[in-house]
Amino acid sequence: MFFRLIYQSFYRQRRNKLLAGIAIVFGVAVATAMIAVATDIGDKMNRELRAYGPNIVVYPQEETLGVEIGGVNLKPITSGAFLKESDLPKLKGIFWGHSITGFAPFLPVNVNAAIDNGGAEAGPVTVPVELIGTYFSKTMRFGKDDFVTGVRNVYPWWSVQGAWPQDDRPAKNQVEVLAGVQFANEHHLNVGDTLRVGERELGREFELKISGVLNSGGPQDRALVGPLALAQEIAGQPDAVREVYVSALTKPEDALARRNPSTMSPAMHDRWYCSPYANSIAFQINEALPYAHAEQIRQVAQNEGSVLARINGLMWLVTLAALLAAVLAVSAAMMNTLMARRREIGLMKALGATRTSVAALFLAEGAILAVVGGGAGFALGIFLAQRISLSIFGSAIHVEAALFPVVLLVSFLILLLGSAFALQRAARLDPTIVLRGDA
């Protein structure tokens, strides 16, 4: 009897059930999609925020004071301590090595560049300029993994007119470099021009071919940027690096991150060490390179946390609104099925059905709708989340396996909450009023 009632209810009221089903599918889909997007958006935004550039700087422990005004370095490079280039792959070997998305070493040297000014009688002009050695997009190896790093992924806003130079210079003494846009404009240099640096007498003269003009919006606009090996050779300092800028995915600072690690209890220190704060990553870099000093770049690291927290908070609040809308959609659909069948319920009650059996009938019907609609909604929701992620971030969403039960639970709660009101109304209906047609 019970099953027949249910079967007949679905069979006779296809339109009504379809409407309720669509509402459930949509409600669950929206809830699923929003939860999936909201849990993943922190990660995605963290990657987007790397557009602000490196958030950790590494320099030699032995203090040397940079003297630089408006991008012009006033102090020659010969003095001071250096980092070792050969140690750089160790950066990927630290505990949070996989959250380091890239790093770029820098070695600036002051050179006098001889520019051939197109056959003017005075001969080549010699101008002092800073040459910055770095990695552009260098493939490195740590353990079994290859990774590509350099300014191209650490400074995504650098734009080059022309081509990026090669990191490995060919055997002959011609090396490709980038010319900063201000330097290039001042001396009328174009892509393809060459200039000479170094001392011929010492056999250390290099011909630099400008492969591109760099616009960085920073001090590099007044300099030449070339491969690290070139700067090392000019400086006569093999393996030397002045500073390394590291771009890492970090966790926004919280109360734990702001504490002084040296005063923490061992358990707390472990927790701090195993959280990817900018500070703990810097601490681990210090461990890997004991003669170096790593420090968070506060302008990037601090603000990253606050922006990330705001975006995350916003998405969660919007998700909450979506869940509410889903509950209401389901609730409205259930209410409608109830309203349309008041007479039927009245008749059932008049014939002796108890409140429980009426509720059970509705619950069973709801459950069928929930399983079918909820399942379809879940699939649709994951699909929607993928579409959103692909179109906004250009990468697929990463749905944690642990999320499935959560989403299912939430969908179930939505259905339960949405149906509760209708169920209660159904159980309480007074048959006499309904059958008389006064309701």
């Binding site: 601090q302 606050s306 922006v307 705001r310 209401l328 309701a439």
Partner: protein, 367 residues
């Protein structure tokens, strides 16, 4: 009775007698309107809020005197006027000074109050509050090995003797420098500000416009955007906005569906009333008018109710997440109102026209 009066009475009775239905419809419309209002309000306001949030990244425009020229004396006042509450401008002066031992160090003259506002990420142990006290970068402090001793600096043969108020730590080039307040600095070096760092709120187009205006006002200066900040901001902002827009669209679609389901079935539910009216001689237009009038009234009331709730919800979200209220956007109201009424009208008229094809007798017989 005149038809208009009958119509009014019918509508009134329909609302009071069938209270359950009317309330459910009203709630559905109100909730949809509330959610839509809250989301649209939030969406519009969020852009300003996020831009404001991004301003904590510091200056995004830099005005520099061209080589060999200096900025006019009233430059700061003029920049402030151009900014008009949309941001902060900080005049900065650089000088390469030396310690008595001959160690070079960069000294910077800066408006401390404004710098504090602009560079919120600076970690400072104590800001200078008395004249002739300096803020020293952490690397500079270590290199000059001052243990709380006063600082001596020489520029152009003139000696500065300043106490150390606090240490500055940023992880950037600031760590190498010594910061002095603008009056102390210009009394010592006799230099006038050559750089103005500006943080201006707004999208890339607004910033470009602002740069254009400044460049026109100060032909002797270079006005440049800080590309690192401007471009990264544009990128992150666009993604956030798109994610929010997608969510808002989903939510609005859900609530729209909710209203659609409720209204359609509520009208279909009343096919008997409709049949009776027709059997008693009402024209199709008359009957449709009644149903449409009822629905539109519910829609209008729901829109009003929902709008008020929505404003509240948006303000609440703004307060929770951004610690600042969300200003109610009255401009959203006509759209919400018209949308609600139109939606209810459509969902009322369509089923009615469908019913019109059926003979009243068939409906009344209950088939």
């Amino acid at each position: 009775m005149r038809p208009a009066k009958i119509l009014l009475r019918l509508m009134l009775r329909s609302a009071t007698v069938r209270r359950g239905r009317a309330v459910i419809t009203l709630i559905a419309v109100a909730v949809a309107a509330a959610v839509t209002t809250a989301m649209l309000n939030l969406y519009v306001d969020m852009q300003a809020k996020l831009h404001h949030e991004f301003r904590s990244y510091g200056p995004n425009v830099v005005l520099t005197a061209k080589d060999g020229s200096s900025l006019p004396a009233d430059v700061l006042a003029r920049v402030d006027r151009e900014l008009a509450d949309r941001g902060t401008a900080v005049p900065v002066t650089y000088a390469a000074a030396r310690t008595p031992q001959g160690e070079p160090v960069v000294a910077v003259g800066i408006d401390m109050e404004r710098a504090r506002k602009l560079n919120s990420w600076w970690s400072v142990t104590a800001w200078p509050s008395v004249p002739n006290s300096a803020l020293i970068g952490s690397r500079a402090q270590a290199a000059l090995s001052l243990d709380g001793q006063p600082l001596d600096l020489i520029f152009d043969g003139r000696l500065l003797h300043a106490s150390i108020a606090g240490t500055l730590r940023t992880g950037g080039p600031e760590d190498n420098r010594v910061y002095l307040s603008q009056p102390d600095f210009s009394a010592w070096t006799r230099l006038q500000p050559s750089v103005i760092e500006i943080a201006v709120a707004g999208g890339p187009r607004e910033i470009q416009e602002f740069i254009g205006k400044l460049a026109a006002q100060f032909p002797a200066a270079e006005v440049q955007p800080v590309r690192q900040i401007v471009e990264a901001e544009a990128r992150v902002f666009d993604k956030t906005r798109s994610a929010l827009l997608a969510s808002v669209a989903l939510i609005i679609a859900t609530s729209f569906l909710c209203v659609l389901a409720t209204l359609t079935s509520s009208v279909l539910d009343r096919r008997k009333d409709f049949a009776v009216m027709k059997a008693l001689g009402a024209t199709q237009v008359m009957a449709s008018l009644l149903f449409a009038g009822e629905s539109a009234t519910l829609g209008a009331a729901g829109a009003l109710l929902g709008y008020m709730t929505g404003i509240g919800v948006a303000a609440l979200i703004g307060r929770i997440n951004f610690h600042a209220g969300v200003e109610p956007r009255w401009a959203v109201f006509p759209a919400i109102f018209a949308g609600s009424v139109a939606l209810t009208l459509v969902t009322a008229i369509v089923p009615i026209t469908m019913l019109n094809r059926i003979q009243p007798a068939v409906i009344l017989k209950g088939e």
